[in-house]
Amino acid sequence: MPRYGMVIDTRKCVGCQDCVIACKTENNIPEGYNRDWIITESNGKFPDIQMEIRTERCNHCSETPCVSCCPTGASHIHDVGGVVLVTHEKCIGCKACVEACPYDARFIHPDGYADKCTFCIHRVEKGQKPACVEVCPTYCMHFGDLDDPNSEVSKLLQSRKWHVNLPDAGTQPNIFYLV
């Protein structure tokens, strides 16, 4: 079974928010809410600045506090690709998962359920890429099977330096940032 993940090249990302908007239109995300977002981190003293821009979302972790804390089983691991999903009908909007996620990736949708990135599983299961990956004008986002050593994402991780967000959180995130 595949393990889906993303490899994102921070050298190429310009932080334009196209990924955020594509997710919004693809998934009908209501105004004021987003499933992905841009972080711009800069360090140093002018003019000696180092800056990393990256697009963030649910890390679809291998260790999932958001799933283990869910009282109803709404928050679950999908049977394809290890994608973390929420069954809207089962969700009671208790916010336990919102609190449990160290990445602040979840929010309560106005319709009352916990919402977050799905890796556009509805597209992936049709052989398409997630909307954010497909739209990116800098081609900085890559999606694929991390367990397949021949996949594009695996090859990128073998050939480049990378980091993950909050490696100490013990969540084993599946989104990797090339530096």
Binding site: Q17, N28, Q50, P137
Partner: protein
């Protein structure tokens, strides 16, 4: 915007379309469009091209059960390669924007008070035609001027030409890329054009001077820039602000604002003195190189250091870096070039630096673009003009060739010289934000007998109009064909993918109806725009049906570089690349660019700089709910140390006061290490004052409002706007 409200919205709007069309008894296409959009079931994917900026990327609109769902890039489109920029992806927001203009309006109180009577299209056209006929009789047709931005204005342009006016302009020349086009034309005999003919993708060294690609989201350029980053191109960024592009650069040069010319001259002196230039290219294609070399060799990096603050060794090192990769070194010409007043000369210096490195016409430099040839519609000739255009009387700005100076028309409207301008027709450009010194714009407007604004939203300029005509957005209308000059020839179509929600109409329909009222029906021989487009396409061996399905038709590919067989041609007086310009000399200007010292901010003041954000275009998109969700106001970038000295911190709201005492709306501070201490920066287009656009009203501050001072470029009349200084007003 959830799916429920979207459905409800469409249901209501669908009914409105039919009623409006029936009442107006108008063009058959409108009715049939409404019918065909009534309830198509399932998913339709319709190709068109984007209008969120002027790049005109090919798109695919996804319409689900008759409702616009999402927009993606058309993979066949060479501009977008199937990937739109964030604005284009947010295009559905233009259709769903709740604050759109809904019906024609006629002013019922003083200009600028934004008080209106809703009227029918017939009433609006009668009002306009009556005024235009009177003006024609009293002052002549030349008393009507057109300000138009974007391809959507093409039918309105046709109308005004048929009416007999020679005065037709856009702020995109004298307030934007004009100096660049003039500087390059003086040097190479050709302009850079749009889309820019830059081969960023193949450049091995890219130099950006104040150009902030990535924040400035011109799609193809950003895509190519990203590929260049991937291929480890050496990137040199010159900017007072540590831009996104600067974070990708090998060299970041934090230049003192206003001194770019000194850096350019010093770079050229290093390249000339160390004989690093492309000798064969310069000998073969250059004119006046010896005089040029003698002139520039005096500008040492040590001299430039005093002006620019850039370490002389860094100037040498970066000059050598550029030479190392020649001719695949691209010194990007930028786009918005109206900075200090010697901008055409600065652009010429950029052109000359490229010429030294042999990049014009070469891979990794500038390609030679070409267009897909589509004959024009075979109209009857326009009436003979009574008068010359008045934007540039007596050739006051001798190199303002090709395009008209918008601020020249404004000036003539105020003075009445050399002849009166009594009417402004404005299409798709918010002159309140685009032109410098708003007070002059308002003064000019007060002299008008008629001001008509065609827009999709109640923009600030619409607030000053006598008549406002609500246009359907790009997703709801046909426009003229797009055959931009590019790397390959192509023609793209803009076609309706959904119906307009209210009584909005396409510009072609307005032009035809108004033309008929004005007795100019003979200039509109086509039944509707489909017939017009089909006629043009037939002349090129295609048909409208074919293009409607394909979205884009490509031509045969041709070489675009000298090395691939393009014959080098330079339409300059010498027929060569003019390192030394006799035509400039004869007109009394510097034949080789020289450094001019520009005024510096007095103590306690900071130079106001402005730029772009990736999610907005000028002041056109702030009410788009999707894009507003990404960025609803701008921020004032203030150097962190400076902010601390003034006791202000990120998130504080302050006002700015400029050298003329003009005070801005409150703006949120972004205290950051990413900018120098002698300037502040904000994204252009915010701080809007239209009371009808509640979602954007006074959101953030307007740089344009603070641009009361401008320097005029003596070569071409461009209005340089980076010459305003501001201080902080703490009490908000």
């Amino acid at each position: 915007m959830n799916s429920l409200s979207r459905r409800k919205f469409l249901k209501i709007s669908g009914a409105t379309i039919v009623t409006a069309a029936a009442l107006a008894g108008s063009a058959k296409t409108i009715v049939s469009a409404a019918e065909s959009y009534a309830k198509p079931k399932g998913l339709q994917v319709i190709p068109s091209y984007c209008d969120l900026c002027f790049w005109k990327c090919g798109l695919l609109a996804y319409v689900k059960d008759g409702e616009l769902w999402k927009i993606e890039g058309n993979p066949k489109d060479p501009l977008s390669n199937g990937r739109l920029c964030p604005r284009g992806t947010g295009g559905p927001g233009a259709h769903y924007d709740k604050e759109r203009l809904k019906s024609p309006l006629i002013r019922k109180s003083e200009r600028g008070e934004e008080k209106w009577v809703e009227v029918t299209w017939d009433e609006a056209f009668d009002y306009i035609a009556d005024k235009m006929n009177k003006m024609k009789a009293q002052y002549g047709p030349e008393s009507m001027a057109l300000f138009s931005h974007g391809i959507g204005g093409s039918f309105i342009k046709h109308l005004l030409r048929a009416y007999g006016s020679p005065n037709e302009t856009a702020p995109s020349f004298a307030q934007c890329r004009g100096p660049r086009e003039v500087g390059f034309e003086l040097t190479f005999g050709d302009v850079v054009g749009s889309p820019e003919r830059t081969d960023i993708e193949n450049a091995k060294c890219i130099v950006l001077i104040g150009s902030h690609l990535g924040e400035n989201m011109h799609n193809t350029q950003v895509q190519e820039f990203s590929r260049a980053v991937e291929k480890h191109a050496s990137i040199i960024v010159v900017d007072p602000r540590f831009s996104v592009a600067a974070s990708k650069a090998k060299y970041y040069l934090p230049i003192k604002p206003g001194t770019d010319m000194a850096l350019l001259l010093a770079w050229m002196s290093v390249i000339v003195n160390e004989k690093l230039y492309d000798v064969d290219y310069v000998i073969k294609y250059g004119f006046g190189f010896e005089q040029f070399a003698a002139e520039v060799s005096q500008y040492t990096p040590e001299w430039a250091y005093i002006e620019t603050g850039i370490d002389p060794e860094v100037i040498r090192e970066t000059a050598r870096e550029m030479a190392r990769y020649k001719p695949a070194t691209l010194i990007h010409p930028g786009r918005h070039a109206t900075w200090y007043g010697d901008d055409a000369q600065r652009s010429r210096a950029i052109a000359l630096l490229n010429a030294l490195l042999g990049s014009w016409g070469r891979k990794g430099g500038f390609y030679v673009p070409y267009s897909y040839s589509i004959p024009k519609y075979p109209y009857a000739p326009y009436p003979e003009l009574n008068k010359e255009p008045l934007d540039n009387p007596n050739g006051r700005y001798p190199f303002a060739t090709g395009e008209q100076i918008s601020t020249g028309i404004r000036e003539a409207t105020i003075s009445g010289q050399p002849y009166p301008i009594k009417g402004w027709f404005i299409y798709g450009t918010n002159l309140m934000q685009a032109l410098p010194n708003r007070a002059e714009t308002i003064k000019a407007i007060q002299n008008l007998d008629l001001m008509v604004v065609v827009d999709v939203i109640p923009s600030e300029i619409a607030g000053w109009a006598d008549v406002v005509l609500p246009e359907s957005v790009y997703l709801e209308r046909y426009d003229d064909l797009n055959a931009s000059p590019f790397r390959e020839g192509f023609v793209g179509i803009r076609q309706p993918v959904v119906g307009a929600p209210n009584d909005q109409k396409p510009n072609w329909w307005m032009a035809k109806k108004l033309g008929e009222k004005l007795g100019l029906g003979a200039y509109f021989p086509w039944k509707d725009v489909e017939e017009y487009l089909d006629t043009r396409l037939n002349l090129a061996g295609h048909s409208l049906d074919e293009l409607k399905k394909k979205g884009i038709i490509k031509g045969a590919s041709k070489p675009i570089f000298f090395e691939d067989g393009v014959e080098p041609e330079f339409a300059t007086p010498s027929g060569k690349i003019e390192f030394y310009s006799k035509q400039l000399e004869e007109a009394g200007f510097d034949p080789v660019p020289r450094f001019t010292k520009h005024a510096e901010p007095p103590s306690g003041y900071f130079r106001l700089l402005y730029g772009r954000a990736p999610v907005h275009t000028f002041s056109k998109t702030q009410s788009n709910p999707i894009l507003a969700d990404m960025m609803s106001e701008n921020e004032l970038w203030v150097n962190a140390d400076l902010a601390e000295r003034y006791g202000i911190k990120s998130g504080d709201r302050i006002k700015l006061k400029n050298q003329d005492g003009v005070v801005s709306d409150p703006i949120k501070v972004k205290a950051t290490e990413r900018i120098r201490q002698d300037c502040v920066y904000m994204v252009h287009g915010f701080g809007q004052k239209s009371r009808q656009l509640r979602s954007t009203y006074k959101k953030g501050a307007s740089d344009a409002e603070l641009v009361t001072k401008y320097n005029t470029d003596p070569l071409m009349g461009g209005t340089a706007m980076n010459v305003n200084f501001v201080t902080f007003e703490m009490e908000v």
